[in-house]
């Protein structure tokens, strides 16, 4: 698969996601990293919540995958990028899954639309059989 990150980023954590047990660690690492770069408590909570949703989707739909956490800077601001990637079944209609309430599992279908709302940048690359990579970034508020 082609690299999906269009900017320089240093991966700080790579967390294997194989079961719901791994969600706790992924959330915690996200919070720690967010606080390290000066995110407020509520911003860090937003990042941890987004990680939780993405990691849970990996467990539910792909079985296994990984979460990569890194800090990013673009000169004037600093932020956190979360990459959730798996080699699972992939998503045929990536626009549809962003609709509030769309779920193939009887869930609330608010995971992905919610993540898009709480993060500043959202990018999804997926195709049936090719797995899914979702990249989200949250910038620190000044």
């Amino acid at each position: 698969m082609a690299a999906s990150v269009g900017f320089e980023a240093e991966t700080e954590f790579c967390i294997a996601v194989n079961s719901d047990n791994d969600l706790v660690a992924a959330r915690r690492k996200g919070r720690v990293l967010a606080e390290q770069i000066g995110f407020s408590g509520s911003e860090a909570t937003l990042v941890a919540t987004a990680i939780s949703e993405l990691a849970r989707n990996i467990v539910s739909y792909a079985g296994r995958g990984e979460i990569l956490l890194s800090t990013v800077g673009n000169g004037s601001s600093i932020g956190i990028t979360v990459i959730a990637r798996d080699q699972g079944p992939g998503i045929a209609d990536t626009r549809r899954v962003l609709e509030h309430g769309y779920s193939t599992s009887g869930g609330l279908g608010l995971g992905l639309p919610g993540v898009r709302r709480i993060m500043d940048e959202f990018d999804i690359i997926s195709a049936p059989g090719l797995g899914t990579t979702i990249t989200v970034t949250k910038w620190k508020r000044r």
Binding site: S42, A48, G107, L110, G114
Partner: protein, 127 residues
């Protein structure tokens, strides 16, 4: 890690101590449903003060707990949601509309007592 459930007169109090896995939450749900029947409890308090994230799954499970307890004729109140967590929940789009919430254990108990007094007629929400 299992969540301890305390019986206090006709109420059950479940105090979550640390971050929970999905399995722990589901276990809590089933344990509460079971115990409410066994003890004929009239109210359940779930204290989530220790949770630093309430995502869609956790919220849905808490809502399920509330529904299941209601089917067994008792009330549930979720207490201790942290300010940041509440903020993230609404940003995520979680509607917790038909779940009762209170600030902390003390307020939760007051809420349940009030509900008891109002009996079947009261449908008032809040405290």
């Amino acid at each position: 890690m299992a969540v301890p459930i305390l019986k206090q007169s006709h109420y059950l109090i479940a105090t979550i101590q640390s971050a929970l896995t999905d399995a722990d939450l589901v276990q809590l749900r089933d344990a509460l449903a079971d115990k409410v029947g066994k003890f004929r409890s009239r109210g359940v308090i779930v204290d989530v003060t220790a949770l630093d994230v309430l995502d869609s799954f956790a919220s849905r499970t808490l809502r399920d707990i509330s529904y299941m307890i209601k089917l067994r004729g008792a009330e549930t109140v979720i207490v201790g949601i942290q300010p940041e967590v509440a903020f993230a929940m609404v940003q995520l789009g979680i509607a917790f509309e038909d779940v009762a919430t209170a600030l902390d254990l003390e307020e939760g108990l007051l809420y349940l007592d009030k509900k008891q007094k109002l009996g079947q007629h009261g449908s008032q929400r809040g405290f």
